[in-house]
Symmetry: none
Subunit: 417 residues, 2 copies
C-alpha cells in the first residue's frame, strides 16, 4: 500500500523550520511496510490545499496530513479535508470534555471561543485522543481511501502516531519490510556503486540503495515479505555478498551505529586508550569520540596543537622536522602521533595535520592532509587530498582519521580474541 505525507504550514514554506515530521513518518511507514512515493508541503490556503489533497488521495491509498489543526482562523486542514472527502462536521462531546480537562490539567484559564473549534470533528471519523495537546488526531475513511490528520507539533504528533496510528496502519498492511544497512568507509560513492552495479541491476526483492555520506557510503538492503523472519531470510545472502565484496571497508552493518561508536567499541573490547593530536581538524576528531556515551573509558585527553610552537611544546615535534618538511608533512604527522602517546600515556594516538584552505598556498595545496596512527610502537601514516570547502575538508579528515584508527586496531588485535 502507498502512503503519502502532506504537511500544511506557511512556516515550512518560509523555511522557518525543516519538515522533520515527514522524516519521522517516512521512517515509521517504511518499517510498517508501506511505500512512500511523495512528500508535499502546502500553505494555509483553501484552494491549494484542496488541490493537493485531491491529488494525493487520487494516487495514494493513505494520506497523512500534518499541521493546520490549531484553533486559529487560518488552521483549516480538518475543514478542507472533510469537504474534499464529503464529511459533515459536528462538535464531538467527548473531545470537548477532553479539551476542558486538558485546560484544567494545564491550568489554562484564558479559554477563548475559537478553542472549541478543535472539538469539531468530521461525522463518522475516528477520533484519536491527544494527551499532549488540544487538537485530536483524526482518521477519515471513504471509498477505499484513508486520510489521517495529525497536529504539527512533534511532541503531539509522535505519540499519537506510535500509539494509535501505527497499529491502525499495520492492520491495513499484512506485508512487512525488513532492511539492513551496510556502512562502507574508504572507497568513494561511485566506486562503491560500480562494485555493486550487477547486484543493483539484478535486484527485485531485496533491493539495494546507496547513500553518499561525508567520507562514507551506506548501502541499504531492503526486502518485503509476509513476515519479518522471511524478509530477513531474503536480506541475509545479499548482505553476505556485500561483506565479501567490501571486506574491511565495511565498518558496521547496524542502522544506529556510527563510525565513532565502532571505534569506541573496539577500544573498549581490547582495553585500549586513545588520544588525539589535531592541527587542521582543531578538536573535531576528539569531539566525535566524545559523541559516544561512555567514551571516557578509552579517551581521557586530546591535544589541539594548531601552531608549530604548540606542536613542539606539547607533542615534542622536532624543530628540524618542522623546518625541513613543514607542518603539513608525513614526518610531522608521525612525530605528532608519537608525541601524543607519550604526552598522554595512552596506548594509541591519532594525529591529523593538513591544510583546509580557504585558499591554496605555495607550500600547501588546499585539501592536502596527513593522518597518522601510533599504536604498539608502530606508526602508520596516510596522505589524503580532500576537496570541498574548509569545513568539508576537515569533516572528511575526521572520518578518515576515525577509519584509520579502526583499521589499525583491527590489524593490531586481529590475533587476539
Amino acid at each position: 500500500m502507498v502512503v503519502e505525507i502532506l504537511a500544511v504550514g506557511t512556516e515550512l514554506l518560509l523555511g522557518n523550520i525543516a519538515n522533520t515530521n515527514a522524516q519521522y513518518l517516512s521512517q515509521k511507514c517504511a518499517v510498517l511496510g508501506f511505500s512512500v512515493y511523495h512528500h508535499g508541503v502546502v500553505g494555509d490556503n483553501e484552494e491549494r490545499m484542496t488541490a493537493a489533497i485531491k491529488e494525493a488521495l487520487g494516487r495514494s491509498d493513505v494520506l497523512i496530513l500534518t499541521g493546520g489543526l490549531g484553533p486559529t482562523e487560518d488552521d483549516m486542514t480538518k475543514e478542507v479535508c472533510a469537504k474534499v472527502m464529503g464529511f459533515e462536521l459536528a462538535e464531538d462531546p467527548h473531545t470537548r470534555e477532553r479539551i476542558e480537562s486538558y485546560f484544567k490539567r494545564t491550568g489554562r484559564t484564558n479559554i477563548t471561543k475559537n478553542n472549541w473549534k478543535q472539538a469539531v470533528v468530521p461525522v463518522g471519523s475516528r477520533v484519536l485522543d491527544n494527551h499532549n495537546g488540544t487538537a485530536p488526531g483524526l482518521i477519515l475513511e471513504k471509498d477505499g481511501k484513508t486520510a489521517v490528520l495529525l497536529p504539527g507539533p512533534p511532541n503531539e504528533l509522535k505519540p499519537l502516531f506510535s500509539e494509535q496510528v501505527a497499529p491502525y496502519l499495520h492492520s491495513l498492511q499484512p506485508e512487512t519490510i525488513y532492511s539492513q544497512m551496510v556502512k562502507v568507509c574508504g572507497p568513494g560513492e561511485s566506486a562503491v556503486e560500480t562494485a555493486v552495479l550487477d547486484l543493483i541491476d539484478a535486484q527485485t526483492n531485496p533491493t539495494i540503495a546507496t547513500y553518499a555520506k561525508t567520507g562514507e557510503t551506506h548501502l541499504r538492503v531492503t526486502a518485503k515479505a509476509e513476515n519479518e523472519e522471511q524478509a530477513k531470510k531474503l536480506v541475509k545472502p545479499v548482505v553476505k555478498e556485500l561483506k565479501k565484496r567490501f571486506g574491511a571497508d565495511i565498518y558496521s552493518t547496524s542502522e544506529e551505529e556510527s563510525l565513532e561508536d565502532v571505534v569506541v567499541k573496539l577500544l573498549k573490547k581490547y582495553k585500549l586508550t586513545v588520544t588525539t593530536a589535531e592541527s587542521m581538524t582543531g578538536g573535531m576528531l576528539a569531539s566525535r569520540l566524545v559523541n559516544v556515551p561512555g567514551a571516557s573509558e578509552c579517551f581521557h585527553e586530546g591535544f589541539v596543537t594548531y601552531s608549530n610552537k604548540a606542536k613542539r611544546k606539547v607533542l615534542d615535534v622536532s624543530k628540524a622536522t618542522l623546518k625541513k618538511y613543514g607542518a603539513v608533512s608525513e614526518q610531522t604527522a608521525k612525530e605528532m602521533a608519537k608525541g601524543g602517546v607519550f604526552a598522554s600515556d595512552s596506548d594509541i594516538c591519532v594525529a591529523v595535520t593538513g591544510f583546509a584552505g580557504p585558499e591554496d598556498t605555495k607550500e600547501e595545496p588546499k585539501g592536502l592532509a596527513y593522518i597518522s596512527c601510533y599504536i604498539g610502537n608502530e606508526v602508520v601514516v596516510r596522505e589524503f587530498h580532500f576537496t570541498g570547502n574548509r569545513m568539508k575538508i576537515r569533516e572528511q579528515a575526521v572520518v578518515r582519521a576515525l577509519d584509520l584508527l579502526r583499521r589499525c586496531i583491527l590489524e593490531r588485535c586481529k590475533n587476539e580474541k
Copy 2:
C-alpha cells in the same frame, strides 16, 4: 514570481534524512522576494518524477530541483527534466575538463565510466560550475518557465545557490528586496519573540522574521522597494530599534558573520590570544574557533581534558577541588580556565565542564554545565541548565562559551580604541 522546490531522493522518502535543502532554499527565496507555495519530494522514478516536474512547471514560474544528479544508475533528475522540457543532452567539454581536474586535484584515480555521465548537460542550458563536487548545477529556460537543477549534498548546493543561482533569480525579479540580519545570543527564542511582538504585529513593510538557531535567535528585517537605496531606508530604523531593545545580546548584524567570526575578529582587534579547556564539549569549542580562516593568529592550542586526571595533570585543577566539588562545578570550571591560561601562556582561556547525559546521574543532572572565562587575572563563571539530547546540550554549551568569551573581551576592552 512563484518558486517551487522539488527534492528528488529515495533517502528522503525513507526518512533517512530530513529535507533541509528545502528549508535553506525557502529562506533564500523569501529573502529574494519570491513566493513559495509548494514543496515536493519524489523518488528516483521516471514516471513519478515526470508527473511531478510537469505539474510544478504548470503552476510555478521557477522550479528548483535538488538531488538525483549523481553518477549512479538511479540518478535521473537531469535526464527526466530535459525530456519534460524538450532539451537534447550532450557532453559538455568544459564540464568534462572540470571533472577531470577535480579528480586530479583530489588524487582520485579509480575513475569509473559512470562518472562521465555528469559531464552530459541539456543543450542550451546554463552550466553552473560546482567547486565542491563533480555534478554541475544547471539552469533550463523554456516558454517563460525555468528549472534550476542543484546537487543534493548541502555543501555543494549552498555555494552553488548563493554564488550563482541567487544572482540569476534576482535578475528575474524587478522589485528589490533588501534584508538585514540581527543575530541575538543570550535570551531564549520565546523571550526574543515576546520582546518584538509589537513590532511584528505592526509590520507590513519591512517585515520581521525570527529564526531559532541552537543557542541563538536570528531576526531578519526585510523590505521591498523600487531600488536598494529605498529598501535600505525602510530597514534602517527597524534595525536601530532592535539594537536599542537587545543591546549587547546582539553579536552581529551581518548575514555571513558567525559567532566564531565575531570572536576571532575581536581577538585580532585587541591582539589577544585564547585557548580552550574542554571537558563535556570534547574539542567542539576549539573546532568552532578553527572554523574561522586565520584563527591561527589568536588560537595556538587547546586542551581536551575529559578525565579528572587530565584536568589535574594538564590544567593543574586541584585534587581537593575535584574531590570536594566534583568535575562539574563552578570551582572546577574556574580552575580549568586559570590552568589553561598558564599551560598555554595565552591571554584568555574559556573552559567548559558539564554533564551531557545521555542519562541523569545522582551527582549531575543531565544538562548542567559551568562555563568560565579567564581574562586579565579575572575569571568569570556561569551556570547553565541545557535541555535536549547529548549532542544538543554540547552544541548549546559551545555557543554559550563563545558568547561568554565575546562578552568578556568587550567588557575588558571597552575603554580601548
